[in-house]
């Protein structure tokens, strides 16, 4: 497969070519999806170095285990699954170690809006306090725009479990982000229910790109 052919091939074709020994196939697959996989790792772990390690571990695992891909899910689902599992493994190993908490690092966004940075840090700090299973569910569903069904495929749990994890995670976040002494939930204080005044969204930011997880036959 030439590099041009690689760029035209579907994800499934690339993975098959990689298993067959094509050296250009896996790098092309990585090139297509690495940024989204990086975002998943970074949002799940909230630590740049941990995310880098997890992403590397995941890609090595995908490289080695490509032959075990059965095709019962989209390649992107499979890749997301490997990354999420690598992240959750790191969280569980970190919890088992008597170390200081991992520092939270704000990814370079080029923004100089201090208030928006603070708000984003508040949300990320709150996210980091969630159990990793709830955090992973919210990263996939609310931050990466996956459907509940897609997230369930990535996490290999039932759809009801994804909804439940998201629900509990959001409820916890609502409590963590609520200013002290404020009664009720974020929406109870009026204003735009989608952007409650006490929980500041990042102004001027736009949601992430629509998810392409689960789309078979996707091409570059």
């Amino acid at each position: 497969m030439t590099p041009d052919d690689a760029s035209d091939a579907s994800d499934a074709e690339l993975l098959a070519a990689h298993v067959a020994g094509d050296p250009d196939a896996f790098p092309e697959l990585v090139r297509r999806h690495r940024d989204r996989l990086w975002a998943v790792a970074l949002r799940t772990l909230s630590d740049r170095e941990e995310a880098a390690d997890a992403l590397q571990d995941a890609l090595v695992s995908a490289y080695r285990r490509a032959g075990s891909f059965r095709g019962d899910a989209a390649v992107t689902t499979w890749l997301h699954r490997i990354v999420v599992n690598a992240c959750l493994d790191r969280v569980r190993r970190a919890r088992a170690r008597p170390t200081v908490p991992l520092p939270e690092q704000e990814p370079a966004s080029g923004r100089d809006d201090h208030a928006s940075t603070e708000a984003a840090l508040d949300v990320r700090a709150a996210l980091a306090r969630l159990p990793e299973t709830q955090r992973a569910a919210l990263v996939l569903v609310d931050m990466h725009g996956l459907s509940v069904a897609e997230a369930a495929a990535v996490l290999e749990v039932a759809e009801g479990t994804v909804k439940s994890r998201c629900s509990r995670g959001r409820a916890t976040l609502a409590g963590l982000l609520r200013p002290e002494g404020t009664p009720g939930g974020p929406a109870a204080r009026g204003g735009n229910p989608a952007a409650p005044s006490d929980v500041r969204p990042v102004p001027g930011s736009t949601p992430g790109p629509p998810s392409t997880v689960g789309s078979e036959g996707e091409r570059a």
Binding site: Q56, V60, Y63, R64, R93, A96, L173, A195, V202
Partner: protein, 254 residues
Amino acid sequence: MSDRDFFDDDLDDEALEDQRAVRALLSSLPDPGPVPPDVLDRINGTLRALQEEDAAHAATVSASGTGATVVPLRRRAAGHRALWLAAAAAVVLSGGGAVVSQLGSDTSARDTAASVAGGSASPEATSGAGARGVAPAEPGGHVYASGTDYRRADLVRKALALLAPGPRPFAAERPGAAGLLADPTTLTACVRAVGAAPANLLAADLATYEGRPAVVLVLTGVSGSAGGSGREVVVADRDCRPGTARRLTSVPVP
């Protein structure tokens, strides 16, 4: 699909609005952006090493003339393979015919290592005749399984010898004991666990210290080194991992 598909069915109106608010907030967070260049370089380097490993293995099996089907390394059992198996395949047998130590438990890797003499799949892995090592640990440093018994009196001298080219006395290392070095993630975690940065690792040697199983690490970038060289030799328990890592001793390099 309505947004109710994202929420539990049994939420009251107020709870549902809280859920919507949090979901909207999370979706409004800025995208982290592309993979940073340094992370990308590291990942690309790792993948290139994997491909070189596969290519070296395929070439070795082909050269054996057995006519056996070449099976890329990635089709073996799951689990991380030592990234430096390609270099292990180029191990030079010592003049005394010492048993080549292997990393990991894969027998084909042992066969590969034993069947190749001379050359190197990785320029960093071998240095001089009789030297035996493996490809650099991620992100840097030479990794050995010499079985040397280091003593306090000769710790620095022998550890620094790991950095020098030329023949070194190697002994057989029992298979499986190299588990620490077989997994770059584990070795990296060990280096961090003893308080150093993986990038500062110059060499690691699976050996013994005062008769006790240990891993000897030669590190650079040490500030306040008594000798001023900025280097340090750290000896840790063989079971060197976060939470259990223990420095048996550390000596600054003059």
